[in-house]
């Protein structure tokens, strides 16, 4: 039995039934979002720190030359990883990424990859032989709910501020910029939590303990690129349609904050 879940479900559920949230926000309001880029500028080719309320996520980008996939010889490679490091929550443990971290990384990856945010065809160094591998690594610093959106916004902001280093005589010249990473779109993810009959955006940790179901929708201006339903509850098709519309609306609002 998860004690937090048992204790919080009742309290938060009752608030939601009375159309209220524990921190006083409206059901469609994100917490305050603060994005800082370039914190790890000496070693990482791109980085960003996102604060979404009390949730803090650091994302660093490394570019490493490597061999392309055989079926995409002229395209760069994108890899996303996430670590739920034990500084961020008493519930996180050391060791290999668990299923929560894997899901987090894969949902963030899907949004970036499927929206073709980064023009991978411009990341070939020697066609068919050497390409840039872009590693997106998410480090959770403080967990107060909605790691999915905080991580996704951190990854997108970091990529937007990433440079491609110089490559001379078959070697990377670290710290010297050749050009900006070719970013063509900005996907934004929106996560909704369902508690009893109420659905709210950007759940804080207490709401996550109480939630029955979760839905993440990643959109760019005109299209949906990734979705993921989580937890053991369910959504009706009508609810999903409504949440997709809301996610499109939120894209307009949040994309302005990405510098």
């Amino acid at each position: 039995m998860n004690i937090d879940k048992e204790l919080k479900r009742h309290f938060i559920g009752r608030l939601i039934d009375n159309n209220r949230r524990i921190d006083g926000r409206g059901f469609d309001d994100f917490r305050e979002l603060n994005i800082e880029t370039g914190l790890i500028s000496d070693k990482a080719e791109g980085s960003s720190m996102v604060k979404l309320g009390n949730t803090e996520v650091l994302c660093g980008i490394k570019l490493v030359p490597g061999e392309p996939w055989s079926d995409r010889p002229n395209e760069g490679i994108l890899m996303t990883g996430a670590e739920l490091v034990p500084i961020a929550s008493p519930n996180f443990e050391t060791g290999r990424p668990g299923e929560e971290a894997i899901e987090l990384a894969r949902v963030v990856d899907r949004g970036i990859r499927e929206s073709h945010m980064v023009d991978m065809e411009k990341l070939a160094i020697v066609e068919g032989e050497k390409v840039w591998m872009v590693f997106v690594d998410i480090h959770v610093i403080n967990h107060d709910g909605n790691l999915l959106d905080a991580s996704s916004i951190a990854a997108v902001s970091a990529l937007k501020n990433t440079y491609v280093p110089k490559f001379e005589d078959n070697e990377v010249v670290r710290g010297e910029k050749d050009r900006d990473l070719p970013v063509v779109k900005l996907p934004i993810s929106c996560t909704f939590a369902k508690i009893n009959k109420g659905i709210m955006i950007d759940p804080i940790l207490d709401e996550e303990f109480a939630m029955d179901a979760r839905l993440t929708v990643t959109t760019s201006g005109k299209e949906i690129h990734a979705m993921q339903k989580g937890e053991t509850g369910a959504f009706t098709p009508a609810e999903v349609s409504e949440l997709v519309s809301k996610a499109f609306g939120k894209h307009k609002e949040l994309v302005k904050k990405i510098k």
């Binding site: 339903k229 509850g233 369910a234």
Partner: protein, 242 residues
């Protein structure tokens, strides 16, 4: 997704394998195929071949995982090394870990786990041959295997995917369409309750395309549900093994 292909995927309303856009691949479901398991199911879905087994409810080890309010539903989706064109390294990878998680969450909606505190219900899904849509096929098979094991359930979860190929919304994509299409929307659905319990999406869908894809996937799930019920009834008609 997003690869390049010379020939179109849909010609005059016909797909690569001759199906119409809203037509599913042939599905064969058989319940109760394994001797040692408490419940099992063999499923063929186009070229997909999947076997699911259920063990339990049984005592959960390690003990610290035990929950004194409900049983633990442990799912493992696993691909055989020979199930895909390029050999797959055996063992769990990131993709199969994620699929196991979403399938487990989908099934928890229908299983009465609170009847069996401190125990575990194990659901093992082995993909013997894969041809796109294996997570839907696995969830469909797992659902039948749970019912075959006599685990108390509210309903079956039916699963099917819709996708986008050559700009058109299609039902149940096969490998070619999955590789070269523009999007995939796998869904797990409970028809009687009109509830979505599994939903993932990747690719490029406008709002309108998404609405159509969602409806298409639900229609597919409803057909799958009929086949699941038939498979369970057939087992008992034959007097199945105990």
């Amino acid at each position: 997704m997003g690869g390049k292909r010379e020939e179109p995927l849909i010609v005059k309303g016909k797909r690569v394998d001759g199906r119409k856009v809203d037509e599913m691949r042939p599905i064969k479901i058989e319940a109760g195929v394994l001797n040692r398991a408490d419940g099992s199911c063999y499923l063929e879905w186009g070229k997909n071949k999947i076997i699911a087994a259920v063990y339990g409810p049984r005592e959960l080890h390690p003990k610290h995982l035990q929950d004194n309010t409900q049983a633990y539903l442990r799912c493992r989706y696993n691909m055989a090394p020979f199930s895909v064109s390029d050999r797959k390294r055996p063992g769990p990878d990131r993709r199969s870990t994620e699929i196991s998680k979403v399938i487990s969450e989908a099934l928890q909606r229908v299983v009465f786990l609170n009847y069996f505190p401190n125990s575990v219900v194990d659901v093992f899904m082995e993909v013997l041959q894969a041809d796109a849509g294996t997570r839907c096929a696995s969830l469909t098979a797992a659902s039948v295997a749970l019912a075959d094991a006599g685990v108390p359930m509210k309903d079956l979860v039916a699963s099917c995917a819709a996708g986008k190929a050559d700009g058109e919304i299609v039902l149940d994509m096969m490998q070619e369409e999955d590789n070269f299409g523009e999007g995939d929307l796998p869904m797990g659905y409970i028809p009687a309750r009109d509830e979505i319990v599994l939903m993932q999406l990747d690719g490029e869908f406008t709002k309108e395309e998404f609405e159509k894809a969602q409806k298409t996937a639900i229609d597919g799930c409803k057909k799958v549900y009929e086949l699941q019920m038939k498979a369970l009834k057939d087992k008992f008609k034959k007097g199945g093994k105990e």
